[in-house]
């Protein structure tokens, strides 16, 4: 076992990345200014031949960089998790592979951890286009009621986390954005700290419609993850029973006018809607029950708690 160090820097290379060598230089300078011992871990999420070549050249030039190359694409959150597993630092600093904040802000961010468990950077003051700020604003307005914490910049990949906290939070695939939300939900102390936005981050970005759809789905999955993972029936049950009730009322109305006013069922297309809602309601409920059965039958495997220490 190698001795522990202060900070493990994890840079996941996923999809987008800027000039690797230049960015490494900037980050390294920032970390050296903080005066703490550190290591760099680059996690390549799949085949990034160009980035891998540059890293190889940096290592050949005497830079101490660790590189983990995943066999195929697994998603940024998985890349982060693998990086954390192979880190030695007491504190994890995740940095994006592209410019988001000025590297000179790193020492201040690391220092502001103090008694907190996690520090997330907020790019402020914002200098990017109105459109981007608008998009981000809308996303956070939708997100914050769900997350129960006033996040301003969940998309910023710069985060300082204590290692035990990072190990506690299980994320995979595309869930790296949820890290602070889950941390907050689990009762860890999260703090948002303003950091200068990098100049190169200030360009207009327009995403594909698919990206926007995914962000909306993100909010939905956070809602599920945060509130209902252990109790799926509470989630599906409330949905299912409201849909069922709506359909049931429609059918009740039809029965009423059939019996008392002699209006034939066959001539009322709304009967289709009523039945459809009843069917959908039962299905949602059944899904909730199934999910609950899965949790119930596996509950002895899923330890709900993690133990810090046992005395005696």
């Amino acid at each position: 076992m190698e001795p522990a160090i202060d900070i493990s820097v994890i840079v996941p290379v996923v999809e987008r990345y800027d000039d690797v060598a230049e960015l490494y230089g900037l980050y390294k300078k920032g970390l050296e200014d903080s005066g703490k011992s550190h290591e760099f871990i680059y996690v390549l999420d799949g085949d990034f031949e160009e980035a891998a070549a540059i890293l190889k050249r940096l290592i050949a030039g005497g830079e101490k960089i660790k590189v983990i190359k995943l066999a195929r694409w697994f998603g940024e959150a998985t890349a982060l998790t693998v990086g954390i597993q192979h880190s030695r630092g007491n504190v994890i600093l995740t940095l994006p592979a592209y410019q988001q904040i000025e590297a000179s802000e790193i020492p201040r961010l690391v220092d502001s951890l103090k008694d907190c468990d996690m520090v997330i950077a907020r790019r402020w003051p914002r200098k990017d286009s109105l459109l981007n700020r608008f998009q981000s604003g809308i996303f956070h307005i939708l997100l914050n009621p769900v997350s129960e914490f006033k996040f301003h910049d969940i998309g910023c990949g710069v985060r300082v986390i204590r290692k035990p906290v990072a190990q506690e939070i299980n994320i995979y695939g595309d869930q790296h954005r949820f890290l602070p939300i889950l941390a907050h939900k689990y009762g860890f102390r999260v703090r948002e700290v303003n950091a200068l936005q990098s100049r190169s981050d200030i360009r207009k970005r327009i995403y594909s419609p698919g990206t926007y759809a995914r962000r909306i789905l993100d909010i939905f999955s956070i809602l599920f993850l945060v509130k209902f993972t252990k109790k799926p029936l509470r989630f599906f049950g409330i949905l299912g029973s409201s849909v069922f009730t709506a359909g049931f009322l429609i059918l009740l109305y039809l029965l009423f006018i059939k019996v008392f006013q002699g209006v034939g069922l066959a001539g009322r297309p709304i009967m289709l809607l009523g039945t459809l809602l009843v069917v959908l309601g039962v299905q949602l409920f059944a899904i909730g029950l199934l999910a609950e059965i899965i949790i119930f039958t596996h509950a002895k495997d899923i330890k709900e708690y993690t133990i810090d220490q046992i005395i005696n």
Binding site: Y186, V279, A286, E292, I293, T297, I302, T306
Partner: protein, 320 residues
């Protein structure tokens, strides 16, 4: 294997820990049982852990489990139960609302042959509107639905035979339903009145919002209990209902069609098709349920054997 484990979850109870420890020791020591006390520190932010640690340094029979963060009361109980080494387990609140003086009576009941003994806070010292009335309604409902009529499911002071409670899955807020779940295994359940004190320190950590949660949990327990381990039967039954409805509607549509009212066909046949689809869906849902039971580790046979009686065997099948 020890005789007795006493489990108390603690969350921000720095004032109570020492009193609780002393009260338990005062009661348990004269019993002459090989016992242990388990304090589960549920991620307290105050000095709870430090105080418990001091006590544990002097008394090796006190074990302290510390969580990494706050997980809630049920996981704390579950951790205590998982790590307990006693044959009889007693759980109690960490806030001194339960009285350790009651413990000997629980042990007697277990020794009489009951698997679970529940406390019943006969003279409950809580607010009437926000705590007592919802609790009475909830307990009545739980009793009706699960068929295990217990007057006070919410009381933490309970005693268990270890082999029974260790076989029961415990997660989320399920500790309220341990007796109901244990009844799957045919356990014998007793209830005895206990003393209850008003809170001296700290604040109550619950609210009124629990009713809706209890309702859905209850529905879940009811299904699980009545499933036994055959979800297919349950889903199949509803599936058959839907199929039956579909057939009726379809027949009705044919009757109407014979009277040459063609415009009615779409609505009635559509309805019949929807119900038919539901029937098929539920059948598949049922088989998914079977799959969950098959891959899960809830061993129904274990539960079944715990309370079974064996006659004519050479050796007794279970330890008393």
């Amino acid at each position: 294997m020890k005789d007795l484990s006493i489990i108390a979850p603690l969350y921000n109870e720095e004032e109570c820990v020492r009193f609780l420890y002393e009260a338990i020791v005062r009661v348990v020591d004269p019993l002459q049982l090989d016992h242990e006390i388990l304090f589960v520190d549920d991620g307290s932010r105050d000095e709870t852990f430090r105080v418990a640690l001091e006590l544990a340094e002097r008394d090796k029979r006190l074990r302290v489990i510390r969580f990494r963060r706050n997980f809630g009361q049920t996981p704390a109980m579950a951790a205590g139960i998982d790590h307990a080494r006693g044959k009889i387990l007693i759980t109690m609140d960490g806030d001194l609302q339960n009285d350790p003086e009651d413990i000997p009576r629980f042990i007697e009941k277990i020794q009489e042959g009951f698997d679970i003994v529940c406390g019943w806070r006969e003279k409950r010292q809580d607010k009437l509107i926000t705590r007592k009335i919802p609790s009475i309604v909830a307990n009545w409902l739980i009793g009706k639905v699960t068929g295990v009529p217990i007057r006070d499911n919410g009381c933490s002071l309970k005693a268990y035979r270890a082999e029974v409670v260790k076989a029961i899955p415990l997660y989320s807020e399920m500790h309220r339903f341990i007796p109901a779940m244990a009844s799957i295994a045919g356990s014998r359940i007793a209830e005895i009145p206990v003393r209850h004190h008003a809170r001296k320190y700290g604040k109550s950590k619950y609210g009124l919002s629990r009713i809706y949660k209890v309702l859905l949990d209850l529905l879940m327990i009811k299904t699980i209990v009545s499933f036994g381990s055959r979800p297919m039967l349950w889903f199949g039954g509803i599936s058959f209902l839907a199929f039956f409805g579909s057939m009726i509607t379809f027949a009705y549509a044919i009757v109407r069609w014979n009277r040459a009212e063609g415009d009615s066909l779409v609505v009635l046949n559509g309805t019949a098709l929807l119900l038919g689809a539901l029937a098929v869906f539920l059948l598949f849902a049922g088989s998914l349920g079977e799959l969950a039971y098959k891959t899960g580790n809830l061993k129904m046979t274990v539960l079944a054997v715990i309370r079974a009686t064996f006659t004519g065997f050479e050796k007794p099948q279970r330890e008393e």
